[in-house]
Symmetry: C2
């Protein structure tokens, strides 16, 4: 049996390290791994699969080795340059950056939602934005059964989504608070400890942030519905890991709440947590470390016909990034001729 060669690009970052963790858990048979990062991190040794892997510098020649799959999480500018090089050499790139997501030639994939798009890849497959992944998993069964008229997203996003520096801003902010010392944020434009910042990624001309635009456009692309009506307000909250989302959705057809529960209980990758009598509902603290999307606070919205309120939580570094990419890799491995 031929060995599958897998490259991990950006192996030393927060998502990169989680790629390694998830790959260890999955332990795909007959795979060989090479870890890449920028010159700055090259030479670093990372424990992986019971051994020590030396991180290599990413260069144009890196893909001459003949990789089958490359998992990229090294930022949009690195993906812009190196993903086409890898693809041109026969490697399938699963890219976690925003660089290729809206390219009409590039499938944008959440395996529970649109696995069939993987086959359309011309060498690059994009991993969606973290907030979008968990949202579309929760919306897909509703979309298929009832149709969706309109979506209003309000997010509660963890600092891990902003990488190690985002994490440090909350960690150091908490320490400074406890020590009664002043604190200057390094990553976020304002202190994130004890604060909510309605500003993720850069601002656009129309007053939206790019994160909000991503949620709107990527939801449409993944659900294959360019005219889907979506709006979003995306907010950073002082939570280390695990994005929460308040999703208000108008369905096209009437529904029974009991059918919604049944749909969710049958849908892969979703765990329903919804029992007020035991204070059970999705929480960042309990979703963190898991690959499922947790759905709860499922209630009829009485303010509109066929309205529904949901509270959706997932680990934004796992399901929102690394695990989703590795799931795509798994799908490719399982569907190889």
């Amino acid at each position: 049996m031929k060995v599958t060669k897998i490259a991990v690009v950006g192996a030393t970052g927060m998502v990169g390290r989680t790629f390694l963790k998830v790959l260890e858990e999955q332990n795909f048979p007959n795979c060989e791994y090479t870890l890449f990062a920028s010159a700055k991190s090259a030479g670093l040794k990372l424990p992986f699969m019971g051994a020590e892997y030396e991180v290599k510098e990413l260069t144009e020649a890196s893909f001459d080795e003949g990789f089958d799959i490359a998992l990229f999480s090294a930022g949009a500018s690195t993906s812009k340059v190196f993903a086409p090089i890898a693809a041109s050499k026969g490697c399938t790139v699963i890219d976690n950056s925003s660089q290729w997501r809206m390219d009409p030639e590039v499938p944008l994939v959440v395996p529970e939602v649109n696995p069939q798009d993987i086959a359309k890849s011309k060498g690059i497959i994009a991993n969606p934005n973290c907030s979008t992944i968990q949202a579309v998993v929760a919306l897909k069964p509703l979309y298929d059964k009832y149709g969706i008229e309109r979506i209003v997203y309000s997010t509660y996003q963890a600092v891990s989504g902003a990488g190690v520096k985002g994490w440090d801003d909350l960690e150091n902010g908490a320490k400074a608070y406890v020590a009664e010392e002043p604190f200057e944020p390094k990553k976020f434009p304002h202190p994130i400890f004890s604060n909510c910042i309605p500003h993720i990624d850069v601002f656009l001309e129309n007053g939206y942030t790019k994160e909000e635009e991503k949620m709107i456009n990527e939801t449409r692309k993944i659900l294959h519905d360019d005219s889907l009506r979506v709006t979003a307000t995306t907010v950073r909250v002082p939570v280390f890991n695990g994005h929460s989302e308040s999703i208000n959705v108008e369905l096209k057809e009437p529904f029974e709440l009991s059918d919604i529960y049944a749909l969710y209980n049958d849908f892969p990758g979703i765990v329903v947590q919804d029992d007020p009598s035991t204070d059970l509902y999705p929480l960042a603290c309990s979703a963190s470390g898991h690959d499922e999307v947790f759905v709860g606070r499922i209630r009829r919205d009485f303010s509109v016909e066929n309205g529904l309120n949901l509270w959706v939580v997932a680990d934004n570094i796992r399901k929102g990034a690394a695990s989703n990419a590795v799931q795509i890799a798994r799908y490719i491995l399982e569907h190889k001729e």
Copy 2:
């Protein structure tokens, strides 16, 4: 000139102490104050107006002294018993609990929104829920100029709204995290440090929380529109003070964004903070300690006709409770014959 006698009931709690702070700032002429609390806190001495005030035990006889105004923040059960007693003795009660808010005989008042309702009082005036107060201030000018078709609230509520014990859960959770020690929450059903809890007040039969129901019903009552379409998801976040709200609103009539800014700049009690170029938008950390409602992230919602997204932040203990009640008292004092 006759002295106005003012009672502060529940003077030792978090809102009660803020009553005292706001009363000191306002320094109404010719007023005399008496502080009340439960037997447990009676005898405590609080610094107030440059002197020391001994807190008296609240009893049925307390109102025999002939108070003009009583500011209550001692919980719904205390208000249920003592507000009618005070009112029966000619005192106007401004009650911060939820006890009387939905009573058709009791006006529910935000002075920037429905001051005219104060005159309808038969002795008790209710102070609305904290999340509702800041929302209706932001909605009122829109309601008057364009009409409102539907409102979708998602809240980001600070722990101070749950009183001293709520504050302590976040404070002690942060300390335990920094000390790498385990932590058991005392007030909330789950840890609030590094977590978002979509559960405020108790759960109702229909899956909503009472906090969500309050926002829906109180918005309708304050805007005098029983058929207004409103839905809400209310969430506790790890912020000490200052509630944030993502408000999605459909107006009845078309609007220009520039007119919305103009409306807000003219409306009392609102400060617009909306300049992406300088990372200016409402934040809990900057609203805390102020009486205004801060509005920003003002954007057209392209997913619906006449849709608008807002981000609204206020100090939930000041404008959301104490300052709003003292504003009502001020209105009464200024409109006395």
